[in-house]
C-alpha cells in the first residue's frame, strides 16, 4: 500500500466509523464494540506505519481542488505523523478500556460514534495542510468533544459541556479571524507555500488565543476541570488529545510554518508559565480526583508550551517529547481515576484512602504515571523535562524560569498528595475491588510505555531531532 493511501486511510477510517458504528450496533453490541476498536486500531496502524517513511524523508500529499485557494490538502510529514500516532494510540487505549468501563452506562453507541468522530476530526486536523480545513476539523473536534463531555445527561453535566463548547467556539472565532487576516495578507492558506513567511502580529495573537482556548491554557483553562466530570475515557480524550490539538496547532503554525514577530515567545510563555503555576496550585486545593488530574493536564500543557515556544532546537525537541510522555502518563492517570470512581463510587479524595491494599495494580499504574509526569528517572518524562528546562535556559527569561520551576515543584506536591491520600491514607472505603482485566490493561499499558520510553529514549529523540531539523522554524 502506498503511503498516500495509508494517509487517506488514517483520516477516512474513523470518519467511516462514525456511520459504521450505529449500523454495527443494529447487529449486536459486540459487533459495535469490535467495530469501534478495529477502526481505532486501523487508524493507529496507518499512522504508525507512516513513521518510518517520514524518517526516511518521504512525504505524502493528497489534495482535492476547491475554489479561492481553499483546497482540501492532506499532508503527512514528521510532525503530523508524530502527533497522529500519539492521538490514535491513546484513542485505542481508551476504546479498549471503555469496552468494560462504559458498558454500565446508557448511550454507548453515541459514545463510540463520537469517539470515532473525534478521532477522525483529529486526524483531519493534524494532516490538513490548509489552514481553512484545519479550522473546519478544529471545530468538528469541539462539537464531538461537546457531545462526549455531555455524556451524562444531568443539567449540571450538560451545562459543563456547554461551557466547554462556548469557550471552544470563542477560541475558534479568534482563530477564524486570524486565519482570514492571513488570507487577506498572503492570499493563500496553503501551509506548504507559507513556510518562513512572517505572520501579521494581530493574526498571530488571535491564533494564539484560539490555541490557548483549545489547549486549556490561562485565561481559558477552566473548561477542562469542569469537563473532566465526564466518563474517564472522555476525560482522558479531552485532557490528552483535545488539549494537544491546540499544542499541535502551535507547533505547526508557529513552530513549522510562520516566522513569528519579536516578543511572541514571551507572549506565549508568560501565560503558559502562569497556567503551569496556577493550575498546579489549584490541584493542591481541589478534592475531586478528576478535577485534580484536569488541573494537572493544564499545568503540564504549560510545560509543553515552554518547550515549543522557547525558540531553540533543544527546547522544541523537549516539547515534542513532553507531548509524547505526558500523553501516556495523563492517559493512564485519567483511566486509573475512572477505575477508582467506578469501584468506590466517589471522586472525593477526602473519602478515599488505603486503596493500595485492595487495588494494587491500579495503584502501581497510578504511581508509575505520576512519576513520569513528575519527571523522575528512569521514566521518559525525565528526559523531556530536562530538555525543556535546558532549552528554556537558553532563553534565559528569569520570570518564565521561576514560574515553571515553581510549577514543577508544585507538581511533586499535588501528585504526591493525591497518591498518598487515595492509595496510602487511612482506609475509608469498604473492600473496593480491583478493576477488570480490560480496564487494568488500559491503565498499565500507557504507564509501562512511559517507563519503556525512558529506557528507549534514543528512538523518540532521534525522531524529534529529525523533526526539528527538517521542519523547525524560529529555532536558533
Amino acid at each position: 500500500m502506498d503511503i498516500v493511501t495509508v494517509l487517506k486511510t488514517a483520516v477516512a477510517a474513523p470518519i467511516i466509523g462514525v456511520f459504521l458504528i450505529p449500523i454495527a450496533n443494529k447487529i449486536s453490541v459486540k459487533a459495535r464494540n469490535a467495530c469501534a476498536v478495529a477502526l481505532g486500531l486501523v487508524t493507529f496502524a496507518a499512522c504508525a506505519s507512516l513513521l518510518s517513511p517520514m524518517m526516511k524523508g518521504l512525504t505524502a500529499t493528497y489534495s482535492v481542488d476547491f475554489p479561492l485557494g481553499f483546497d482540501f490538502v492532506l499532508s503527512a510529514d514528521l510532525l503530523s505523523v508524530f502527533m497522529a500516532a500519539i492521538f490514535s494510540f491513546v484513542s485505542v487505549i481508551i476504546l479498549v478500556y471503555s469496552l468494560d468501563y462504559i458498558s454500565r452506562y446508557e448511550n454507548q453507541t453515541e459514545y463510540y460514534a463520537m469517539i470515532a468522530l473525534f478521532l477522525g476530526s483529529m486526524m483531519g486536523l493534524v494532516f490538513s495542510a490548509n489552514l481553512l480545513w484545519l479550522y473546519i476539523f478544529w471545530e468538528i473536534t469541539a462539537i464531538a468533544g461537546w457531545r462526549l463531555a455531555g455524556f451524562f445527561r444531568s443539567d449540571r453535566d450538560v451545562a459543563k459541556a456547554n461551557k466547554m463548547l462556548l469557550v471552544a467556539v470563542f477560541g475558534g472565532l479568534c482563530m477564524l479571524i486570524g486565519i482570514l487576516m492571513i488570507y487577506s495578507d498572503k492570499g493563500t492558506l496553503d501551509l506548504r507555500f507559507l513556510k518562513g513567511e512572517i505572520i501579521p502580529p494581530a493574526a498571530a495573537a488571535l491564533l494564539l488565543a484560539g490555541i490557548f482556548a483549545k489547549s486549556a491554557t490561562l485565561p481559558f483553562s477552566a473548561w477542562l476541570s469542569d469537563a473532566a466530570a465526564a466518563p474517564a475515557g472522555v476525560g482522558a480524550l479531552l485532557a490528552v488529545v483535545l488539549v494537544n490539538a491546540g499544542v499541535y496547532a502551535y507547533a505547526r503554525i508557529f513552530g513549522a510554518v510562520f516566522a513569528t514577530p519579536a516578543g511572541f515567545s514571551c507572549l506565549t510563555l508568560v501565560p503558559a508559565g502562569l497556567s503551569a503555576l496556577v493550575a498546579a496550585g489549584a490541584a493542591l486545593i481541589e478534592k475531586d480526583i478528576k478535577r485534580i488530574l484536569a488541573y494537572s493536564a493544564v499545568s503540564q500543557t504549560g510545560f509543553i508550551f515552554l518547550g515549543l515556544a522557547s525558540g531553540n532546537k533543544t527546547a522544541f525537541i523537549g516539547g515534542l517529547l513532553y507531548i509524547l510522555m505526558h500523553s501516556m502518563a495523563a492517559g493512564a492517570l485519567f483511566l486509573c481515576a475512572g477505575i477508582i470512581e467506578q469501584k468506590t463510587h466517589t471522586r472525593d479524595i477526602a473519602r478515599l484512602g488505603g486503596l493500595f491494599k485492595t487495588m494494587p495494580v491500579t495503584a502501581a499504574a497510578f504511581a508509575l504515571a505520576s512519576l513520569s509526569v513528575m519527571g523522575i528517572p528512569p521514566f521518559g518524562g525525565f528526559f523531556s523535562k530536562f530538555l525543556v528546562f535546558k532549552g528554556a535556559m537558553q532563553n534565559a527569561n528569569p520570570l518564565v524560569l521561576t514560574l515553571f520551576f515553581c510549577g514543577a515543584l508544585l507538581t511533586f506536591l499535588y501528585l504526591a498528595r493525591l497518591f498518598y491520600l487515595v492509595f496510602l491514607g487511612e482506609e475509608k472505603v469498604q473492600n473496593p475491588k480491583e478493576g477488570s482485566a480490560l480496564m487494568l490493561a488500559g491503565v498499565l499499558a500507557p504507564a509501562l510505555i512511559g517507563l519503556a520510553l525512558g529506557a528507549l529514549i534514543y528512538y523518540p529523540c532521534v525522531y524529534a531531532d529529525l523533526l526539528a531539523a527538517r521542519l523547525g522554524v524560529n529555532l536558533e
Partner: protein
C-alpha cells in the same frame, strides 16, 4: 560485556528476578541478593584496581543525543566510591539475611539491588545527565524502602516527606545541571573539568542549585529533617544502608566534583560552604543530645557528620579534602555499624527508647564492642580512623585560615562524644531492666557485618596510611590536587585537641548523670533545660525549625491564592461573558418596544455611523 556495567546491570536485572520469587520461600531471595551483591563487590574491586594500577575503564554509548550520552568512567575517585557503595550493599545484604523487621523481604531486596545499581551508575557517570538520571532514580527506591518498612501510617507519611524533600532538591539539581551544561556547552564531567567554570552570573546560580542537590543528598541542614523521622519509622538495615552510607558517599562525592573539578570557587562561596558545614555540625549535634531513641539519636549524628564533610570540601585545600574523602568513608563505616547495633538491640529487646534499655553489655558483648569502637571512631578518638580523618579536616580548616570553624568542629566532636556517652551508657551499661534478662546476642548474620565495620575502624586507624595512600590520594589526584600523605598532619597538637574533646564530653556526662540521679538517658538534660536553650529545644520539638513542616503548614494558603486566581479566570471566561450577554440582551429589549419611529431613528443612526466610518477610514478592505 564491559566490566564497568557489572555493578549496574547485574543488580538491576536481578532485582526483577527477586520479585518473581515467592514471599513464602525462606532465604532464597536473601541468598540471591547476597550472591549478586558479592559479585558486584568483586566487580567493583576489579574496576578499582584497574583504575589504580592500569587504565580507567570507560564506556560511552549514544543515549538521548544533544550531549546526553550514556558515559561511564571509572577513574580512581569514582571507582573508590563504587567500591564503597558495593561494600555497603554486600554488608547490608548479610545483615538483613535473618532480620525480620525489614518489611516485605521481596521488596526489601528489590530496593537494595536497585539502589546498588543506581548508586553505582551515579558514581561512575561521566555525564551530568547520566548522573542526574541515576541520582534522581534512587529517590524511588528510597521512598519505597521507607514506605514498606513498617505497616503503620507513620512510615508512609515519612516516606512522602523523604520523597518530597529529595524530589525538590533533585529539581534544583536538574535546573543546576541544565544551567551548567548550557554555560559549559558540554555535559561531560571530564570535558567541563578540563576547562573549569568561573562563578559568575548564571554559572554561580547553576553551582548553587547543584550544591543544594549535593548537600541535601548528604543529609545536611536544612534538608535533613526527613532523616530523624525515617529513623523512627523505617528499618535499621535501611538506615544503615541509605542515609548512613550511600547518601553520604554520593552527596560528598558529587559536592567534591562540582566544587573542585567543575567550578573554580571564590572566597564567598567557600565561606558559604564552610558556614553551611559548621551550622550542620552544631545544630545536628545539639539536637542529638535531646534524643531519647537509639536510631533517632544516631540519625542526628549522621546529619552532624555531613556537616564535617561539607566543611572539609569547603576548605578547598588538599589536607581538608583528603580529610573529607577519608571521613566520608569513615563516617559511612561508623554510622552504618552504629545503625546495625541499633537494629540488633531493637531486634533482641523490641525497644529503641533509651529509658527502656540498659545493661546490655553482658548480654550482647559483640554488639556493645562494635558500638564502642565505631562511636569512639566517629568522635575522633585516637588511634581509630576518625581521629585521622577529623584531624585532617581540622588541619584543612586551619590552613584555610578559618579558626572559628575549627572551634565549631571541635565543639561538634565534644557534643558527638557526649551523645555517644549518653547512648552507650543508657543501652549497654547500668542496670538491665527486668524484662531484658533473657536478652541474647544478635545472630551471626547480624554480628558479622558489624564486626567487619568495627574492624575497618580499627585497621584504618592503626594503618591509616593504607587507605590514605591507596584510596584517598589517588582520588585527590583525580580532582586535580596533590596530596602529601600524613607528612603535613600536625599529629601532636591534634592529639591534644582530641584529649580536650574527650575530657569535655566525659566531664559533661558525669555531671549530667549526677544531676539526673544516675539516669544515663537523662545525662544531657542539664543542657536541654539550660536558659535560652530550653526555649530553642521547645521550638525544635514543635518542628518550628523544620522547613518542610513550616512549608507544608503554609502551603494551603499559598495554593489557596492560586486556586482563587484560577476561579477568577473561570469568572472571566464563564460568568462574566454570560453576565455581559444577559445584560446586553436585557438592555436591547428596551429598544424593541414596537414603536416604529424608534426603529427608524436607530436605522438612520446606524447608516450615519457607517457613512462616517467609511468616509474616515476609506472603507473595509
Amino acid at each position: 560485556m564491559n566490566l564497568i556495567l557489572i555493578p549496574i546491570a547485574l543488580p538491576l536485572a536481578s532485582a526483577f528476578l527477586i520479585l518473581l520469587i515467592s514471599e513464602q520461600t525462606r532465604y532464597l531471595k536473601e541468598t540471591l541478593a547476597l550472591a549478586v551483591s558479592a559479585v558486584c563487590l568483586l566487580g567493583a574491586f576489579l574496576i578499582f584496581t584497574s583504575a589504580l594500577f592500569g587504565q580507567p575503564l570507560e564506556l560511552i554509548a549514544r543515549w538521548a543525543g544533544y550531549g546526553m550520552d550514556f558515559a561511564l568512567k571509572a577513574d580512581r575517585l569514582s571507582s573508590f566510591i563504587l567500591l564503597a557503595v558495593s561494600l555497603f550493599t554486600f554488608l547490608t545484604a548479610i545483615y538483613s539475611f535473618s532480620f525480620e523487621k525489614k518489611g516485605g523481604a521481596k521488596w526489601f531486596y528489590f530496593n537494595l539491588l536497585q539502589s546498588q545499581a543506581f548508586a553505582a551508575g551515579a558514581a561512575l557517570s561521566d555525564n551530568l545527565v547520566a548522573l542526574l538520571f541515576f541520582w534522581e532514580g534512587l529517590l524511588i527506591f528510597l521512598t519505597v524502602f521507607i514506605a514498606l518498612s513498617k505497616p503503620d501510617q507513620a512510615a508512609k507519611k515519612t516516606a512522602m516527606k523523604a520523597f518530597l524533600i529529595n524530589a525538590a532538591a533533585g529539581l534544583c539539581l536538574l535546573a543546576g545541571v541544565a544551567i551548567t551544561a548550557y554555560i559549559a556547552g558540554s555535559m561531560s564531567i571530564s570535558g567541563i573539568s578540563a576547562d573549569k567554570l568561573t562563578l559568575i552570573g548564571w554559572a554561580a546560580f547553576g553551582y548553587v542549585l547543584m550544591l543544594i542537590g549535593a548537600v541535601s543528598k548528604s543529609g545536611a541542614f536544612p534538608f535533613h529533617t526527613w532523616l530523624p523521622d525515617a529513623a523512627l519509622d523505617s528499618s535499621a538495615p535501611f538506615m544503615a544502608y541509605a542515609p548512613a552510607a550511600l547518601d553520604k558517599l554520593l552527596g560528598i562525592y558529587f559536592l567534591a566534583r562540582i566544587s573542585v573539578s567543575l567550578f573554580t570557587l571564590n572566597g564567598t562561596m567557600q565561606l558559604v560552604l564552610m558556614t553551611l558545614g559548621a551550622l550542620t555540625i552544631l545544630v545536628a549535634a545539639m539536637m542529638a543530645l535531646a534524643q531519647t531513641d537509639y536510631k533517632r539519636l544516631l540519625s542526628y549524628l549522621a546529619v552532624s557528620q555531613a556537616g564535617y564533610l561539607i566543611l572539609a570540601v569547603g576548605t578547598l585545600n588538599p589536607a581538608g579534602l583528603a580529610g573529607g574523602l577519608f571521613h566520608m568513608l569513615n563516617s559511612a563505616v561508623c554510622l552504618s555499624c552504629l545503625f546495625m547495633t541499633a537494629g540488633a538491640v531493637e531486634r533482641r529487646t523490641g525497644a529503641g527508647d533509651l529509658s527502656k534499655l540498659g545493661g546490655l553489655f553482658g548480654a550482647m558483648p559483640v554488639t556493645a564492642l562494635c558500638f564502642i569502637i565505631s562511636a569512639a571512631a566517629l568522635s575522633g578518638i585516637a588511634p581509630l580512623n576518625g581521629f585521622f580523618s577529623i584531624g585532617l579536616i581540622y588541619e584543612g580548616v586551619l590552613s584555610a585560615g578559618y579558626t572559628p570553624f575549627f572551634i565549631t568542629a571541635a565543639l561538634g566532636s565534644a557534643l558527638t562524644l557526649a551523645s555517644f556517652l549518653k547512648l552507650g551508657h543508657a543501652v549497654f551499661f547500668g542496670n538491665r531492666p527486668e524484662g531484658l534478662r533473657e536478652t541474647k546476642e544478635a545472630p551471626f548474620s547480624g554480628v558479622f557485618p558489624m564486626a567487619i565495620l568495627a574492624a575497618i575502624c580499627v585497621i584504618s586507624g592503626f594503618g591509616a596510611r593504607l587507605p590514605l595512600e591507596f584510596l584517598i590520594a589517588p582520588g585527590l589526584r583525580d580532582l586535580g590536587l596533590a596530596y602529601e600523605a600524613l607528612g603535613g598532619l600536625r599529629l601532636y597538637p591534634l592529639f591534644w585537641v582530641s584529649v580536650v574533646v574527650i575530657l569535655t564530653a566525659v566531664v559533661n556526662h558525669m555531671f549530667g548523670c549526677a544531676a539526673a540521679q544516675g539516669k544515663a538517658c537523662k545525662a544531657c538534660d542539664h543542657i536541654l533545660y539550660a536558659p535560652v536553650l530550653r526555649d530553642l529545644y521547645a521550638l525544635a520539638q514543635a518542628r518550628f525549625f523544620d522547613p518542610y513542616e513550616q512549608f507544608m503548614k503554609h502551603l494551603p494558603r499559598l495554593a489557596g491564592i492560586l486556586y482563587k486566581a484560577d476561579r477568577f479566570f473561570d469568572y472571566l471566561t464563564d460568568d462574566l461573558p454570560a453576565f455581559a450577554v444577559n445584560a446586553f440582551s436585557k438592555a436591547s429589549q428596551r429598544f424593541h418596544t414596537g414603536y416604529y419611529p424608534l426603529y427608524l431613528a436607530l436605522t438612520i443612526a446606524g447608516f450615519v455611523i457607517y457613512i462616517f466610518f467609511t468616509a474616515h477610514y476609506g472603507g473595509l478592505k
